[in-house]
Amino acid sequence: MKYVLYSVLVSVLLITGCVSQRPTQVRTMADIGYPFPVRQVVLDNDLSVAYMDEGTGDQTLLFIHGLGSYAPAWKKNMDGLKNEFRCIAIDLPGYGHSSKGDYPGDMRFYADIVAQLIHKLDLAHVTLVGHSMGGQIAVTTGLGYPELIDQLVLVAPAGYEQFTNGQRQWFREILTSDAVRLTTVNQIRENFATNFYRFPKDAEFMIQDRIAMRTADDFRWYCDIIPKNVRGMVNDPVYDFLPNLTMPVLSLFGEYDNLIPNRFLNGGSTLEIARQGSSRIPQSVLIMIEKAGHFVQFEKSDEVNAAIRGFLKA
């Protein structure tokens, strides 16, 4: 009996002790590979915005990523839509291949960036496609620069869910630059997984890139911008101003979004929040995508691309 036990236990110890990981390393965040060629545009305030520009068409889709994300998160949508539309996906300043620095990171700052970029690239017939925080940036841009924007496509946008003053304060205080910097590999993996209903294997590159960027020289600016973005979202709520949007708006949500509503603070169904927000917009279409989470544009890219195509051609 003893010898059997020894053998089993030593085997278990060996198996459980042999898990190792060797993350990829990058020197700067610009070393992270992108699925399409990356270009740069320098704006008036010497900020450089990186973007991928694919396809041609009368209408331009300008993709804005969410908190902690980057332009490659749109690769399936660019792939699916570039034959009919010009597709431009940007890295917000502080992220990806764009310039880094001590930026304010609030929603109006980014709305100004988007407006400047539209001018600099001389874009016409622009539809902003924003995901999560990118959705709130799109709304802020639509409110501030309605003359530049034809339509909005809001994918699981921040800004439809309301928070109390106490909850806003919790958001302001909960996330720090150090917390971002010290996020463990397991936590990174779980954070990404929470964005999906069923994490797709082809989304693994996002996790690997996020792990790799920890070794980049400019990673500290990424850690710095994320808490600023969170504060920016709660400090510049758009909910009360949704009725002021003058352009047609398509809202898309995954019905199993584990981030909207916030599962710790509010709980409840995503549909409830989606209806609540979209019903305030004068020209509004709401589409719920089944069996999809917060990253619905990646998890159900075909459905989302079809919805965008249908909305723009209606």
Binding site: Y6, L9, T16, W170, N258, F264, L265, G267
Partner: protein, 246 residues
């Protein structure tokens, strides 16, 4: 570990060491649908007794406990899951044969250990919301040295995601050694249920209930503290308010 005491007729010394490990995969059930956790822990050693002025090896100790929990998340949240929990602990009915193949836990020396509080049962195994963990039928995985083979099956569902949730569960366990004196192997089976509301961040109110049918293991006076009759089947219902403040 060396213990020197005189609980019985002869002073004894015991050298016992524990060797074990635990493992987990996707504990929060978010990476994918499947989550697996478990442990294997063994106690190995010897007992020597002082007989006629000489220390003599009298008992060989070799016991093992193992657990495997498998969760499948079928829905949106971690509360939309089916959980199967299996537990095994080796047992013995005495040391007269010179071996003890049961499990030794911290409870043997008064420190909490070997309690199985996260299985989702209330009466068969202790529950994490119950202060007195000694009221369960199996309050220590050693099961009085007799060992056990048991398990629980729980089906949970979030009726409103991250707001209103509930679960139903069953649990069952068998002693690995027949209880001496008219007793059998069956410890018992339990059905239970719970529903709860998330009132705020880390603030919940929950209603729990459970009923257990005791088995023939309780027909033994050795199991019942000297009483020959099987006790009445236990049930419980309680309301809890939980608030993690930080």
């Amino acid at each position: 570990m060396v213990c020197t005491d005189s609980p019985g007729a002869d002073p004894y010394q015991a050298d016992v060491f524990w060797l074990g490990s635990f493992f987990s995969r996707n504990e929060d059930m978010m990476w994918d649908n499947w989550s697996v956790t478990g442990f294997v822990n063994a106690n190995l050693g010897t007992v020597r007794q002082l007989k006629s002025g000489t220390w003599t090896k009298t008992v060989d100790i070799a016991g093992v406990a193992a657990n495997l929990r498998v969760n499948y998340r079928y829905g949106q949240t971690e509360q939309d899951a089916i959980t199967l929990d299996a537990l095994y602990s080796s047992g013995d009915n005495g040391i007269e044969d010179g071996t003890y193949s049961g499990v030794l836990t911290g409870n043997n020396w008064g420190s909490p250990g070997g309690i199985f509080i996260s299985s989702g049962s209330y009466l068969l195994f202790p529950h994490g919301n119950v202060v007195n963990r000694l009221v369960a039928a199996v309050n220590d995985i050693a099961n009085r040295g007799n060992g056990l083979t048991g398990g629980t099956l729980n089906l949970s569902k979030a009726f409103i995601p991250h707001r209103w949730y509930g679960k139903v569960g069953v649990a069952s366990a068998f002693s690995n050694v027949e209880a001496s004196g008219n007793g059998g192997f069956i410890i018992g089976s339990e059905v239970n249920g719970m529903t709860g509301l998330q009132l705020g961040p880390f603030m919940n109110v929950e209603l729990h209930g459970a009923f257990m049918s005791l088995g023939d293991y309780y027909d033994s006076p050795a199991t019942n503290g000297g009483v020959a009759e099987r006790p009445a089947n236990p049930w419980t219902a309680f309301l809890v308010f939980k608030w993690l403040m930080f």
